[in-house]
């Protein structure tokens, strides 16, 4: 697959006009929404309490995973029994330079996503090469990652043509929710171009 230059440009344009990443805050499980601790448009920092959800007489405070502005707060849900995965508000997180780069890469690279909510680590082979070579080439069938899930370790293998690991989206040994990107890969010949794109974003993006 070749990189679509036009798409990248569009992406950059979109990021410039909308330099946010939107994090929906959903109920992790059922329960009564007992309290809303924030107001519309409020700036919150990571770790700040947002909502209090009660299930089986256990009051649980949901905290912001990222900092940003509270939007689309559903005040009408207060006091109601909510199903799992109900969106209560959004956090509009202003992207830093680094995050903007990641955002672009997430859209342009071939992304290996987490198949399960589990802990992931790099395959030892890849890890040593990553240290040595920075952007190592991986061949089809080679072990990329190890997923530790339900006390079992399952290797995740590379599929498709030989590619280089361009970007790590996760921190090893941490729990990654299913569907989140783990690695970004690209064809070896695309590396110089992507590096130029990154440099461009870094130049253009205002230092925060």
């Amino acid at each position: 697959m070749a990189l679509n230059h036009k798409r990248i440009n569009q992406l950059l344009q979109r990021l410039r006009s909308h330099p946010y990443r939107i994090y929906p805050v959903e109920t992790p499980h059922t329960g009564y929404l007992r309290k809303i601790l924030v107001t519309e448009e409020q700036e919150v920092s990571a770790g700040e309490g947002l909502l209090v959800l009660e299930r089986e007489r256990n009051l649980k405070t949901l905290r912001a995973r990222v900092g940003g502005r509270v939007r689309h707060l559903r005040k009408d849900l207060l006091g109601r029994f909510l199903e799992a995965g109900e969106k209560v508000l959004e956090i509009w997180h202003p992207l830093s330079q680094e995050e903007a780069v990641a955002e672009v890469l997430r859209e342009t690279l071939v992304v290996v996503r987490a198949p399960e909510t589990a802990r992931y680590l790099l395959a030892p082979e890849v890890e040593t090469r990553l240290l040595k070579e920075k952007r190592p080439l991986v061949r089809p069938g080679e072990e990329l990652l190890i997923m530790t899930f339900m006390k079992r370790e399952t290797p995740l293998r590379h599929e498709g043509p030989p590619m280089v690991i361009f970007k790590l989206f996760f921190s090893p040994h941490q729990v990654v929710p299913a569907g989140e990107p783990l690695l970004g890969l690209c064809l070896p010949e695309e590396v110089p171009y992507l590096e130029r794109v990154m440099a461009r974003i870094q130049e253009e993006w205002p230092e925060s």
């Binding site: 299930r55 089986e56 256990n58 729990v175």
Partner: protein, 744 residues
């Protein structure tokens, strides 16, 4: 001219000292200081005669003020005297009391720990025309007149380790040790080893060190002081203080402050309540003699005081040595001293050789043991009437004979018999039964199911037996809780009845230990119905008449139904009988005072006499109870002595920590244990995060005191899971310990 200037400077120093001690609002001290400072600036403008005149009047003024100050000296002012940079330090003593010395293990700033100074020194005595030189080891804290790198005399763990090393050297060389205690407290860090660990090791060694030891206390800051304080004779400076905690620390605790300074008035009151002066300590029996100082404390140039100190150190050492010899020589020695004299004798009537023979060393250790056993014992409340203790002694004597017969005399033949038995059955697997069976029954109990072979038709009824099972009161609630590790480990919410029932308060997913009440341990660790408490009558009292403490005690007693924070009982684990001493959080946060210490010592004795393993189970301990002052502090050497004697007699002393296990007890009789284990939920260390932050100025990482880090630091031997505690204890009882256990 310069003489006059020197006089002025001296006066100025005295005035400043007075101001520092008594505070700026003391009479017109500020004016006097101001006046002197003016004079200093205008020294050359004034005529010498006029200056002399002024100085004379100021001199009498200051003299007057000093008189007044000495008469109105409060305990907190004594603390300030001790902390004043002008006060004499150990190096001053080495210069002035000893005739020559060589510093060992470092010099000045180039030192493993500049707060601890060790020196090989000579001290001389005149008998008639002859001068005798004694070799001694001098070990103590150096405050350094405000030198930053001395940390005010706060010994780091490796400083205390240095002290220990040279104690051993003195033992090898057979020379007495003179200890000088000038410490506000140990430097509260956890390292390799941690502060508590090292203090415990020092105490454990000092309990049986085979040389005479004399200590002199100027600033006795709790655990830090004890690290070099378990000695045969304890002297104390008349303007020194010896306390369980600094008055400021006590005030912060009393006012429940998290940070900031407690109000001065409260600090004053705490200083008074803590009974930290020399007179108080002599009365409490925590020191043996007071070395008089000038009324406002000795300073670095008080040569008369140093002469006095030299005399007292020699005399104390003499007395310790002579105590190991016949009573007659000792009495003769005492008579040789003209009693009641305030004047310092210029010479000694006799020369005493400080070297001890092997027999004398034994006597020395016995004397030391007796000294610490008796120390502060008067303060024990409850049940401890003379008659009762006597009876108990008689009873113990009885059991001693019985157990001696049973396990001592017959032991030899028993062993031989067992060996034969084992050889006979080597080939068949039948002999394994007795070994594996208890393990299995332990497993079954821990697994929460009693599986007796089914006989009755209804299996279900048989398994129920609800009245037999202990149910934690925490479990009686229909709700769920979130495991603190849910975020990182994805733990499901736990239903409280399951969590505190079957799961033993442990998250089944990540192993997080929720705190449990102490009754849970008593009911789940030991064989059903085997727990029998003893000495429950010994109760915490208020020996210092600490304001407000009696009410707190009464409240704790009423709420818990216990008389102290230490429960001592006999119990069985898988059929093995053990003596257990347990500190519980419910009673004053498991702090240790007179009653707790006494009960622990008696538990040690009981375990020793009946040849049973001794288990110290720490549900929580917050340290030494401040309301009992130094009477609490001396429980550190007292209990460590008892532990040492128990272990030396061939027993098995096991310590298991849980929850918060901090400070004095950990730095002594708990930390001294050869086998220490911690439950996963333990926070173990010397000082809490607040104190560490205040002392070191460094932030404390949240897992600083975790069991894992304690294991990393080598403090404990292993981390146990609460669900397996019973099994682990059982295995430990079978595999560890000395030769004198009844089942060995």
């Amino acid at each position: 001219m310069s003489e006059l200037y020197q006089e002025l400077i001296d006066l100025w120093e005295r005035a400043v000292y007075l101001r520092d001690i008594k505070g700026e609002d003391f009479e017109d001290i500020l004016e006097v200081v101001q006046h002197l400072e003016d004079l200093r600036h205008r020294f050359y403008e004034e005529s010498p005669a006029g200056m002399r005149e002024r100085l004379r009047s100021l001199h009498s003024k200051i003299h007057e003020l000093e008189d007044l100050a000495a008469r109105t000296l409060t305990p907190y002012e004594i603390v300030k005297i001790v902390r004043h940079p002008q006060r004499f330090t150990l190096l001053d003593i080495l210069e002035n009391v000893y005739d020559s010395y060589t510093e060992l293990g470092g010099e000045g700033e180039i030192n493993i720990d500049p707060a601890v100074v060790v020196a090989r020194a000579m001290i001389s005595r005149r008998v008639g025309d002859r001068v005798y030189l004694h070799q001694v080891m001098v070990i103590g804290h150096e405050k350094g007149h405000g030198e930053e790198f001395r940390q005010g005399g706060s010994a780091k763990p490796w400083g205390n380790e240095k002290a220990l090393r040279y104690m051993r050297l003195a033992e090898t060389e057979g020379i007495p040790i003179h200890f000088y205690i000038f410490t506000p407290g140990a430097y509260p860090i956890e390292d390799y080893p941690g502060a508590a660990q090292q203090i415990a090791r020092n105490l454990y060694t000092m309990a049986k060190l085979k040389v005479p030891m004399v200590s002199f206390i100027s600033e006795g800051g709790s655990g830090g002081a004890e690290a070099i304080g378990l000695t045969d004779f304890r002297l104390m400076a008349s303007r020194g203080y010896y306390s369980v905690i600094s008055p400021e620390g006590a005030a912060a605790i009393e006012a429940k402050l998290r940070e900031g300074r407690p109000p001065r008035e409260l600090v004053e009151r705490c200083a008074r309540n803590l009974r930290l002066t020399a007179e108080d300590n002599l009365r409490l029996g925590t020191v043996d003699r007071i070395v008089p100082e000038p009324p406002l404390g000795a300073r670095r140039r008080d040569y008369a005081f140093f002469r006095r100190l030299r005399y007292e150190m020699i005399r104390a050492t003499d007395e310790v040595v002579l105590h190991t010899r016949s009573l007659r020589t000792f009495r003769k020695y005492l008579l040789s001293r003209k009693d009641g004299q305030e004047e310092l004798p210029e010479e000694f009537a006799i020369y005493v050789n400080w070297e001890l023979s092997e027999d004398e060393k034994e006597v020395l250790l016995e004397n030391r043991s007796r000294k610490y056993r008796e120390m502060g014992r008067w303060a024990v409340c409850g049940e401890a009437s003379r008659l009762k203790t006597f009876l108990e002694k008689g009873h113990d004597l009885g059991t001693k004979v019985f157990h001696g017969l049973r396990y001592g005399v017959f032991r030899h033949s028993q062993r031989a018999f067992r060996r034969m038995f084992e050889e006979l059955r080597e080939e068949s697997s039948a002999f394994l039964k007795p070994v594996t069976d208890p393990v299995k029954s332990v497993y079954n109990l821990i697994a929460g199911k009693k599986r007796r072979p089914p006989r009755v038709v209804s299996l279900v009824e048989r398994l129920e037996e609800p009245e037999e099972l202990y149910v934690s009161p925490l479990a009686l609630e229909d709700r769920t809780v979130t495991c603190p590790n849910a975020e990182t480990h994805g733990c499901p919410d736990l239903w409280v009845p399951d969590l505190y029932g079957e799961f033993c308060g442990v998250c089944p997913n990540c192993g997080y230990h929720f705190p449990l009440e102490y009754q849970w341990y008593i009911n789940n660790l030991f064989d059903r119905g085997s727990v029998r408490e003893f000495n429950e009558g010994i109760s915490s009292g208020n020996p210092l008449n600490f304001e407000g403490y009696a009410e707190k005690l009464a409240e704790a007693r009423q709420r818990t139904g216990c008389n102290s924070a230490m429960l001592t009982f006999e119990a069985c684990i898988g059929g093995l009988s053990v003596i257990v001493a347990m500190l519980i959080a419910d009673f004053r946060q498991g702090t240790v005072g007179v009653a707790e210490g006494e009960k622990f010592i008696r538990a040690c004795d009981r375990a020793r006499i009946t040849r049973r393993p001794l288990l110290a189970l720490v549900h929580t301990t917050g340290g030494i109870r401040i309301h009992e002052g130094t009477l609490g502090v001396i429980q550190m050497p007292r209990c460590t002595m008892a532990v040492r004697e128990y272990v030396d007699s061939g027993g098995l002393y096991l310590v298991v920590y849980d929850n918060n296990s901090y400070a004095g007890p950990v730095a002594s009789f708990l930390g001294a244990a050869p086998y220490q284990f911690a439950l996963r939920s333990t926070r173990l260390g010397f000082a809490g995060p607040r104190v560490i932050h205040e002392t070191t100025g460094k932030p404390v990482p949240p897992d600083y005191h975790s069991a894992e880090n304690a294991l990393r630091r080598g403090h404990i031997q292993g981390i146990w899971d609460r669900r397996e505690l019973r099994l682990k204890l059982y295995e430990a009882l079978l595999t560890m310990g000395g030769p004198n256990l009844y089942y060995r």
